[in-house]
């Protein structure tokens, strides 16, 4: 059965550009099916034997994703140190007449990047989960679903054909349902799982129809065949390319929680925190971005209208989700809306034709966002509440969580030298240079908002006075060590793609069966305008956040106690200096000047700050309650209620009288016979 057929091998499908000789990766790529198979086998083993194991199957789960991480890292080095691996392997599974069923996997730069990201982030989350789920009600079920989740994502990213991609896609959906509803004893948790599943399913209709149209047009489900047609500018494919692209993107919108399918993601926070970390960083939500990137040549060459749709959807999502994040009190919800907003950046980047920038943000975001989630989980673990009003002042009690969280926040806010800075800057540069001024300013504005809500989250959580119950203490090493590992990624991985200096990441993701010309624009130098706009926005956001939550009336008392000690030495020093001038110069004129400054301060500066703050919060509230709760949620609730009403009426058909059923049975059979008879004569 193991007849690994070399399909593409060292393939060059260069269209115009200079041909780059790629290696087929040898045994390393030919054995990459293990990456997919090992998690599935582990899932099976955990299901069967997990309960009898000392750690309830967690050891198997960690071993499986650890294997994936190691394999992914080896592949990453193999492809970047060599000429780049492009390989498609296939195992023939069955044969029906002329139709062959095979399990095919693709090993190229894009999938290796995903193997690495999924593997490493999963390993961190899994190790963390071992500590987080200590004493959980059903750890075996959790680890089985969690491993299945990782395996499904790997199946999705390794898929060489669309059917396999769809299988992975749906398995991700199923396992996310299991994980979100892990604590199903509370109804809202299982409802959240169902909501995620159903919203995804609705979007999947688009994906499925898109796949069918693509396969009928091209005559093959294999992605590389479709890409060949794109390169050849096949007329038949060109006719329907926009339809296919839009339908595939609808599927991607569901998984990547783009407006208007974003409603499931905040509710998905009902799952245990390691799930949120993995789901919102490396897996599931990145699936849509991955799909768009995988099919990118189709969008770029044949379906530019669809690319505009991608850009618009991404831009809408990044703004509305960012605004929503400001008014949330649940720390995981802040991060969830933040994830939405960052996914908006990725999608919009792809829509603007910046293939590398979008994927690079996916890559860096995977590390710092999972880090933030794990940090939030660590806090929740200590405080036993998701609510930021129950937190505060935790930086003393949880120093490791605090510092790693700070690194993640700075990376998210786009502060220079942290990973998020480089990726966000490249996206903003792409908007700027791609001639999308509106999207560019929306992106800059959201950079400001991002910095604002992260400052808010950090100050409410780690500064001020502790407002919860009990005494919080630092999480065990099994939870903090994975966070530190991810923090290293959030610190360093930005340097993999500094425009004009390093192109490691660019070289990696363009290592594909299609030539780099088809894979969008790539910045080769800094766009200093975009850089400063983004940076200024980020710093302003932090400043305003500091200012607002310093002035926040509800927490004024705690804030005073926090900030006066911090500022005290500075004030005191000033006094020493001022003391020198005080009696000579200052005293005669200090009264009017002080009054004037005080007046300016309280009537002009505060006024501006308060107006901006109130406006931003009001806008956030409006989007949350007006658009999100009343508009989108209402439509979904009404659809549900309608189905329920129809069901309550239709059920009376089921009378329980066997003979009525039998009349319908025989009558139906007769109708079929007569219909068939008519149709053949």
């Amino acid at each position: 059965m193991v007849t690994a057929a070399l399909l593409a091998g060292p393939s060059i499908l260069a269209a115009g550009g200079e041909a780059v000789e790629r290696s087929d990766g040898g045994v390393l790529a030919a054995g990459a099916w293990l990456i997919v198979l090992v998690p599935f086998i582990a899932t099976l083993a955990i299901t069967l034997f997990g309960k009898r194991m000392p750690r309830h199957g967690a050891e198997l789960a960690v071993a499986a994703v650890g294997f994936v991480a190691v394999y992914g890292t080896i592949l990453l080095f193999a492809t970047t140190l060599g000429d780049g691996i492009v390989y498609e392997g296939a195992l023939k599974i069955g044969e029906f007449g002329s139709f062959e069923i095979e399990w095919a996997w693709v090993v190229d730069g894009l999938s290796i990047m995903m193997f690495f990201t999924v593997g490493v982030v999963s390993t961190a989350c899994f190790v963390y989960a071992v500590g987080y789920l200590e004493g959980d009600v059903r750890p075996t079920a959790f680890f089985a679903s969690f491993t299945l989740f990782a395996g499904a994502m790997l199946m999705l990213v390794s898929a060489a054909n669309l059917i396999q991609l769809l299988i992975g896609w749906e398995l991700v959906g199923v396992s996310s349902y299991l994980l979100i509803g892990h604590y199903w004893e509370q109804k809202e948790n299982s409802s959240a799982g169902m909501k995620a599943f159903i919203v995804n399913k609705i979007a999947d209709i688009g994906l499925m129809i898109g796949i069918i149209i693509a396969a009928i047009t091209v005559g093959s489900f294999t992605i590389s065949t479709i890409m060949e047609r794109v390169v050849e500018s096949d007329a038949a494919l060109d006719d329907v390319a926009v339809v296919i692209a839009v339908l595939l993107f609808i599927g991607a919108m569901g998984k990547s929680a783009q407006f208007p399918f974003h409603v499931w993601l905040p509710d998905a926070m009902a799952g245990p925190t390691p799930v949120s970390a993995l789901m919102h960083a490396a897996t599931m939500v990145t699936a849509g971005v991955y799909l768009t990137a995988r099919m990118f040549p189709l969008f770029e060459e044949m379906a530019h209208e669809a690319l505009d749709l991608v850009l618009i959807i991404g831009a809408i999502t990044l703004v509305i989700a960012g605004l929503l994040a400001i008014v949330q009190n649940d720390i995981k919800r802040v991060l969830a809306y933040s994830t939405l907003s960052q996914l908006g950046y990725m999608v919009a980047a792809l829509g603007a034709g910046a293939y590398t920038a979008g994927l690079f943000h996916l890559f860096t975001h995977a590390f710092f966002k999972s880090l933030l989630f794990l940090g939030a989980g660590s806090v929740i673990h200590a405080v036993h509440s998701n609510n930021m009003t129950d937190m505060g002042g935790l930086r003393k009690d949880m120093p490791r969580t605090f510092w790693t969280f700070i690194i993640g926040s700075l990376a998210l806010a786009g502060i220079p030298l942290f990973a998020g800075f480089f990726s966000k800057d490249e996206i903003l540069a792409a908007f700027n240079e791609g001639g999308h001024p509106i999207v560019f300013w929306l992106g800059v504005g959201t950079a400001f908002i991002t910095a604002l809500y992260m400052t808010r989250a950090v100050s409410l959580t780690f500064f001020g006075k502790y407002k919860g119950h009990g005494h919080p203490h630092e999480s065990p090493a099994i939870m903090t060590v994975p966070m530190m590992g991810l923090a290293v990624g959030a610190l360093l991985f930005g340097f993999l793609n500094v425009p004009g200096i390093t192109d490691f990441f660019y070289e990696l993701v363009i290592t594909r069966g299609v030539s780099a010309e088809l894979l969008g624009e790539h910045a080769t130098s800094f766009d200093f305008f975009a850089l400063f706009a983004g940076l200024t926005a980020g710093l302003l956001g932090i400043a305003l956040g500091y200012r607002l939550y310093y002035e926040d009336a509800a927490t004024q008392e705690e804030r005073d106690r926090l900030f006066i000690p911090v500022l005290w030495p500075v004030l005191e020093n000033k006094y020493y200096i001022d003391d020198l001038y005080m009696n000579g110069i200052v005293n005669p004129i200090k009264g009017p000047v002080a009054r004037f400054i005080n007046w300016t301060n309280s009537y002009i500066i505060d006024f501006v700050v308060n107006i901006v703050g109130a406006f931003t919060r009001g806008l956030g509230r409006f989007v949350y309650s007006g658009l999100d709760q009343r508009g989108i949620d209402l439509a979904i609730n009404e659809a549900g209620a309608g189905t329920g009403y129809l069901g309550s009426k239709l059920r009376y058909i089921q009378t329980g009288k066997v003979q009525q059923y039998a009349v319908a049975l025989f009558g139906g059979a007769l109708v079929l016979v007569v219909g068939f008879w008519i149709s053949i004569t």
Binding site: Y652, Q654, T655, K657, F666
Partner: protein, 101 residues
Amino acid sequence: MTIAQFLVLSAALFSIGIYGVLVRRNAVLVLLSVELMLAAVNINFVAFGRYFADSAAGGQVFALFIITVAAAEVGIGLAIVLLIFRNRASANIDELDVLKW
């Protein structure tokens, strides 16, 4: 003799059996009607066996199989009817509507 006359006879028996199955309240009588339908099928098998001049008598063998299976069916069917009667003091199937909405 034409083949059609046997098929029409069989169709008549089968339809009468269907009527009985659909209209009888008592489970024993429903089973009786099912026997009528089986008899109709048997006639079809034997007649087609002749019509295709099957020297190995496949049609007749299948009629025998049907008779055997019918015997088993009646045995089990009556046992179930008996059980229902014991539990509900009635063998009327229109009163067995526990599975409604």
